[in-house]
């Protein structure tokens, strides 16, 4: 009888987890997004506060930071736009998403400089109950551009819960036909985007060993640094 019960329990669990939509939430905390377009720029702060108890974890003493991926589209020419040559090809996913870092940055973490410190103008690290904030100000994009981003909070360099993904947030803005920015949609990210994020990590990691020298003014690497494997907490 015990074996039969166990079998039934296992079957129920497997069935439940295999059903579409019967998924973990991937949001172990809360997001606060603030920002208003000014001209063709969009100064913004995206803050995540990690609440491990929400996910049945403690992650004591862990540190969390942000990774951002972007997708930019020109409605006039129906093509993806990039700010530089680097993200194209191997560094982008087949759909055109790429990890958002300026050329010269060896690390894919949004605020991590080559000297190993986080630049507070881009990302202040957080921890359980302490917010991590991503600071961005995309700007200069031409008229009729759609700018999309997904911010992902992850544990970084932590004793516990290291390399665990804590949550995903989507934000976007549009440049209208007069090249004036308008907020589009900001919301928790949806299911497909977590797979796209994994693809963006893979693309970065495939490209990193071939990147050539990366210098950002704070340090030099002979090539970009690959991400570790990451998974939802």
């Amino acid at each position: 009888m015990k074996i039969r019960i166990l079998a039934k329990l296992a079957f129920a669990a497997a069935l439940c987890y295999s059903l579409t939509g019967c998924q973990p939430t991937f949001q172990c905390g809360s997001w606060v997004f603030t920002g208003t377009p000014t001209g063709n720029a969009f100064p913004l702060n995206d803050t995540f506060t990690f609440d491990p108890s929400n996910c049945g974890q403690s992650c004591a003493g862990s540190q969390d930071v942000m990774i951002q991926m972007t997708w930019v589209y020109d409605e006039t020419t129906h093509t993806n736009l990039y700010a530089s040559d680097q993200p194209q090809g191997a560094r982008s996913t087949p759909n055109g998403w790429s990890i958002d870092r300026v050329d010269g940055a060896a690390h894919g973490y949004y605020g991590l400089q080559n000297n190993g410190t986080f630049y507070s103008g881009w990302n202040t690290p957080g921890g359980p109950g302490t917010p991590t904030t991503l600071i961005d100000e995309p700007g200069g994009w031409p008229a009729n551009t759609y700018f999309y981003a997904v911010d992902v909070a992850v544990c970084y360099d932590s004793r516990t819960c290291n390399n665990k993904i804590l949550g995903y947030y989507f934000w976007s803005y549009i440049l209208n036909s007069s090249d004036v920015g308008q907020k589009f949609i900001t919301a928790p990210a949806w299911k497909d985007l977590d797979s796209e994020f994994q693809a963006a990590l893979t693309a970065w990691n495939n490209w990193a060993p071939t990147s050539g020298t990366e210098y950002d003014g704070t340090g030099t690497f002979s090539h970009a640094i690959a991400f570790p494997a990451m998974s939802d907490l």
Binding site: C22, A83, V102, D103, Y148, A187, D216
Partner: protein, 236 residues
Amino acid sequence: MKNRRILSTALLLLIAAAGCARRQSNPPLTDDQNKAKGTMDAQMQAAAQTASDYHAMDNAALLSKLLEQSQAQTEYFNSPAYRELKTRTNVDATALVAQVKANNNAGGLLPLLLLRQLDNQAYQGVPAEMRGHILTDALANAKYFNSWGLPDFYLEDAAHATIEAGKAATPALKRLLADTRPAPVFGSQEAMISNQYKYRVCDYALFFLKVIGGQENFRLPESPEERDALIKQAAR
């Protein structure tokens, strides 16, 4: 026995419900999320279609598009024609050289950079003065400077080509030392750096002159005042 069966069934339902409670905490997409997702899905299809359309074009049609996009000051990495031509091995360098010579100004930038990418020997065959003129004219007329990159951070193809043009570009670059027009770069972190440093055309000119002059590791100071002092010296 019957009680055990009831118990096991109840347990099974409880486990299933507990598992699916997580599903319920992941609610259906909101109208906003659906709107964003729908818009992006349609745009991804359109972008793929554009790439496919360009892939189907022959070289002559692509070269014509390339020139069009060059004259519209599209960055080389954002030009669909450049993206497609870069992948081809059968582009006629002679046709490209002819296009460069017929467009010996800012409008010839993309054909010149494509030639440099595809056939360096043919590229070196274009007189350095002509290359220098196209590159500096493009610099003088650019609205955004993404094709050159951000001095002190990273350089793009147009910057490398300008440095390669060497002394042939020097007279025009010296003239540009007087051009204090803002030289912004669009992007995300790129735009933030650009806003912080507030580079001007004269700063790019100074940077290229210093590197061409042999200071390979030259760095532009962050302060415009310090840059102005260097510009004054370089203009003498």
